[in-house]
Symmetry: C2
Subunit: 387 residues, 2 copies
């Protein structure tokens, strides 16, 4: 195990009826609240009214900032920062999925500085004193509700960049699984794929060859993400299944899986970010299109690791190490297919001739994330396996 | 999954060389430090000097309070509280295992109130504003370094009572596995047994019949506690094994396993507390003497749960549900025997004629912990299976 610091101070309120606490939890941090949300789907399922009522009961002053899009864009972050500054907001409350929470974090970071918030994303500045954040989560996927990271797309430069900072953990996040019951099957599956991808990134990129404690945690989370997603897809209103999927996705990227692994990378996300920077595909769909190819490229180089994955996640016990490694990848691909998430980029209508453009774009992120073991040629080779 | 609040704000610094940070981490909370430790074993392995040097470098004023015994006693807590008050201490720094950290928490709680600290243990008062706590952990076992609970023995009343309070999480805990390399084989094993017991308590007492996310986390922790303990017992200086055991024991009782299980009990600990209140047996040894009997009593009542335990923890796949349940208990007992921890109370020289006395004592704790499904007769029946 590698040395690590683990400090996750986010308070989680989980379960039915917890949305009613968002007002009290938020005004603990300040009365003037920037309320960030998306395209308005929260107005269709009653959540918007619940949040407004709770904030009003807690005597908050609300400045609304709707319109966050999936794959949130820098220009909308900028406008949100201006609004927070103009109104001297004390606190930001995000009601939405990972995109809304990510954008809210960027607004928190940018609202207390004079320079462009993008400098945090390019590593030129470091966050020190952001506005505090509370969240009401509406989608089991990103883990943003209990971590300090975010991803924003700069459409001017076609860069989808992310960073994390210890001051950007939400203070309180409310996870009521009933809120997610209105998420349709496709986005439920993409969310589960995202959670699985978060675990896979750490599982297959750790520099430590022996991390048994983290391994079993990660393997359990992957199994649970798949199983609970399958149950939800049988019945979108299955509260227990929604709850299991929601908590699994949170645990999949709250720092625990990576604690002790040492330096890890996010190569699958890196490549997917370039797909969605160009084509605006759903994040989870982009991930499942990249993951099998990425895994096939690496399986022979780390066969024992891939075989362990196959054995423990899919109970594949027969055959050579290489054979098990291969069967594990096929089993995961089969699950993607089962939940109707694409297993290659061709299914996303991304042509093979674009591969070099995608690889070039991905390299700009590889540099920012200091992923020194990647170059354009390698990314192109991986993408060839994703066709 | 049941509704829950999860909020664990303890900062963990894990790994080689982290002890040097204890001074800086502690003086963040105040300059006047009550340094709590045990019988002085930390003076034999160099740890005491490291801590003193780090505190001095950080310009702390140190008031030393040694002499905490295993199964820490209320009278020693009282004297520590007086010392903290007399010296207007700002912060408590505990250097030791679970006993030392538990006593330090009780001192933190008692140092800011006028009434007897025991009132917190009997539920008559609630902690609101304790002194802050930092810790340097020396034994992988109790999980106290990352939770808000403690257990103290009142020798006047022969009561070994425990409670938890959200204000009593350590602010920072330092976990350097090298520090644990001087722990002998027997206490290493007892520590691992304690960690396993913490998981078993929740696993078998949850009121929720279906908790797949928590189950896989718990099953993984039990496997890791056993496997890493086995590796340590092969070579007491195996850093990697010590690290795996240390982090496993912390995760085994930091709130994650129980989040979503609803009301859980601590019946094995309840009975063991009565053993060690009378006989001063090592906590882990007392637990392994109680666990198989407790499990045999319950196996028929919850056979599918016990069968799942057998399947997933010990890979027992053949036979009926009842048969698997039984084999799982035997496999766990066999592991206790392998690591030389007793599997019944007879091995601890506790005579069968004392069973009613032990059951009567355990019932006083059952009342405080509100374990309404226990009575003296039931505890006696369980203890009969522990002979």
């Amino acid at each position: 195990m590698q040395n690590f610091v683990f400090h996750n101070p986010t308070k989680i309120l989980f379960g039915k009826g917890t949305v009613a606490s968002i007002g009290d939890e938020t005004v603990l941090l300040g009365k003037k609240v920037l309320l960030v949300y998306g395209s308005g789907s929260i107005k269709n399922n009653g959540l918007y009214e619940q949040v407004i009522q709770s904030l009003h009961s807690a005597e908050a002053t609300i400045i609304e900032y709707p319109g966050v899009q999936s794959n949130p864009v820098l220009s909308h972050v900028h406008t949100g920062i201006e609004l927070a500054k103009e109104n001297n907001c004390d606190v930001v409350c995000a009601v939405g999925g990972g995109s809304v929470i990510d954008e809210a974090k960027a607004i928190c970071a940018g609202a207390t500085v004079q320079h462009d918030v993008w400098k945090f994303f390019t590593g030129k500045k470091s966050v020190r004193n952001p506005l505090p954040l509370t969240t009401v989560l509406t989608l089991a996927a990103s883990g943003s509700e209990m971590n300090s990271g975010m991803v924003i797309t700069n459409t001017e430069t076609s860069q989808k960049f992310g960073f994390a900072n210890k001051h950007l953990y939400p203070k309180t996040s409310i996870l009521d699984p009933t809120v997610t019951c209105s998420v349709p099957a496709d986005y439920t599956a993409y969310g589960a794929v995202d959670a699985v991808a978060h675990v896979l990134e750490f599982y297959f990129t750790t520099v430590d060859p022996y991390t048994p404690v983290q391994d079993r945690l990660m393997e359990g989370l992957i199994i649970n993400a798949m199983e609970s997603c399958d149950r939800v897809l049988q019945n979108l209103n299955d509260y227990k299944a929604r709850a299991d999927l929601m908590w699994t996705a949170t645990l999949a990227l709250n720092g625990l899986t990576g604690a002790g692994l040492g330096k890890v990378g996010f190569p699958m996300h890196m490549i997917e970010h370039s797909l969605s920077a160009f084509y605006n595909v759903p994040h989870g769909a982009g991930l499942s299109a990249v993951i099998p190819g990425w895994m096939r490229y690496h399986a022979n180089r780390q066969a024992p690791r891939f075989a362990q994955f196959a054995e423990r996640v899919f109970d594949i016990r027969e055959g050579s190490v290489e054979k098990k490694a291969e069967q594990g990848i096929e089993a995961l691909s089969a699950w993607f297919t089962k939940v109707k998430s694409p297993t290659n980029i061709t299914a996303l209508n991304i042509p093979g001739k674009d591969i070099s453009k995608i690889a070039e774009n991905a390299m700009t992120l590889a540099k920012v994330w200091r992923m020194k073991d990647y170059n354009e040629k390698k990314i192109e080779e991986i993408l060839q396996k994703c066709l």
